[in-house]
Symmetry: C2
Subunit: 323 residues, 2 copies
């Protein structure tokens, strides 16, 4: 039984790898850009990057790859056998047999694959913001929206292990087109991609005059401009950030109605704007959830490990499944 594990989180932009101890302490951290080129062997570039980071961590810590269990978190529908059957936000690895590919790149390694948001949920439940909480949903706001659902103290997996694809819950029937091929998915409205879309709309509609003047034209205003300006209390930007909070609350209210979870842990890249988005979401969820007055308070908190939740949870998966 190893005293350390490696957890890798393959994100839309970067791939992060941590070596952690059993109590969650971080012993090493490396990262690289996530490859997006579509290779002939689907997913091979992803496996190569992951293998490189694993070797780098092992070398730095004086460990052999074969003695350290490795967990890998990936976005999308991940089967228990390590096949990423569908990943609309990581097309270069959608359909890849990641388990076998990593086994080939890392001879004698013990590799365990899991959905990235499920990993984040496991880490936050074990060590972080949802310790001791039986019913909660981890919501990762990145390019898309990932989810990990805990019900009655257990990670909800569903029939094939695909549970928690909350970003593809439709909240606007026949709405904005999504990378998954459907229309009106929640992640088109409340993720980093949603911020981008709302920013563009607001700029073109003349609702962001200061930022448009700064950038020279409406099309040049980026989501980051809006969150930065909102942090400086520029009213026109605050309005847009609060809209993201409304869309976030809408999906959380849906999940609360379906699951009766009392707690949401918000992580992922967009959570950097969380000191603006979360207060708005807390306020709006009261209007949006059925029977709000009759429910105990619904908590909406930031993840404790921020962008590291997924990798930490992948390490936890490695510990648990290698026993």
């Amino acid at each position: 039984m190893s005293d350390v594990a490696i957890g890798v989180d393959v994100g839309g932009t970067k791939t992060l790898a941590l070596m952690i101890a059993r109590d969650g302490r971080m012993l090493g951290e490396v990262h690289a850009a996530t490859p997006h080129a579509i290779a002939e062997s689907i997913g091979a570039p992803t496996a190569e990057v992951v293998a490189g980071l694993v070797k780098e961590l092992c070398d730095a810590q004086g460990r052999s790859v074969s003695e350290v269990p490795i967990g890998v978190g990936l976005p999308g529908m991940m089967r228990r056998d390590g096949r990423l059957v569908y990943a609309p936000n990581l097309q270069s690895a959608s359909g890849a047999e990641l388990g076998p590919l990593l086994g080939a790149s890392l001879a004698n390694a013990n590799v365990f694959c899991e959905n990235d948001a499920n990993c984040a949920a496991l880490a936050e439940h074990e060590w972080g913001a949802s310790r001791g909480i039986d019913d909660f949903v981890m919501v990762t706001l990145g390019t898309g929206i990932g989810g990990g659902v805990f019900a009655d103290g257990q990670l909800l997996r569903g029939r094939s292990g695909f549970a928690g694809e909350i970003g593809h819950m439709v909240v606007v029937a026949r709405g904005a087109p999504c990378l998954c091929g459907n229309h009106g998915c929640w992640e088109r409205y409340a993720s980093g991609g949603g911020l981008h879309r709302l920013t563009r709309e607001a700029a073109l509609e003349g609702r962001l005059p200061t930022l448009v003047a700064q950038r020279g034209n409406a099309a040049a205003v980026r989501g980051e401009d809006v969150t930065a300006a909102a942090a400086q209390n520029l009213d026109e930007a605050v309005v847009v950030v609060r809209e993201i909070g409304w869309w976030l609350a809408l999906g959380l209210a849906n999940l609360a109605a379906i699951l009766d979870c009392g707690h949401f842990v918000i992580g992922g890249g967009l959570s950097s704007a969380s000191n603006l988005v979360l207060p708005a979401a807390r306020q709006y969820v009261a209007d949006l959830v059925e029977g709000h007055a009759a429910r105990p308070e619904i908590a909406i908190t930031s993840s404790m490990f921020g962008p590291r939740s997924g990798a930490m949870g992948a390490g936890l998966v490695a510990f648990e499944r290698s026993q």
Copy 2:
């Protein structure tokens, strides 16, 4: 340990009470209209009707009320202590302390309250359409939409017992107003109420010329006219019924993404039109669920006990909780 139990289902229109044996066999059945008047003591008329049906069943079967455990299924957010904290589709009992009220009407009785769709899910799982299936959702299409979620072989209850309020999942942000005070809830589109709304819209837009001619004017065309005409293959009516199937599929696809349930059992009053609605829903769900090609087939089947699922499940609850 009693060899029989009574299960009562308080529906939007009628209240049904069954006496059942441990194997689910029905020994007696009575019903009455559900009272909707708002009494000074909220829920008292509901409790009175339930108590009357229970006494009627016990008298007919030569049983004493005190020796037969009684389960009661109610629509809305039901707390474990028997308080129906919020019921948008049964305003006359919304907020009622049903447990104590029934205890007062039925001295020495053992009464156990549960959400009606949870009851239906329990009955279908024990004896019916979802026997042996670990991950499924019971969907009751009536005035509104109720839900009972099974995950990993267990009824999902959530923090306060409110899980499964799937009808109040918003699928059209800022859409049609709902009795719950929110807008765009699924039950505004895919329930009996949704059929009514779609019928009215179609009639006013001139898409139901034959039925409008039969009834004399657009406002007089009812949902039942549409389902009856669709059953006779009248094209204009089939189109509307297929729309209901699309809306049903939209919500089912959302639930499949969140829960990865492989099976839906459809019950409730509208399921009388299920031989038209379900084939449409089966077809549309393929377009609407994320990564359909990568998932095993999603089954959408009719409930085995139709309008009796809820009452049978309430009886099952009575057996289980009185042990």
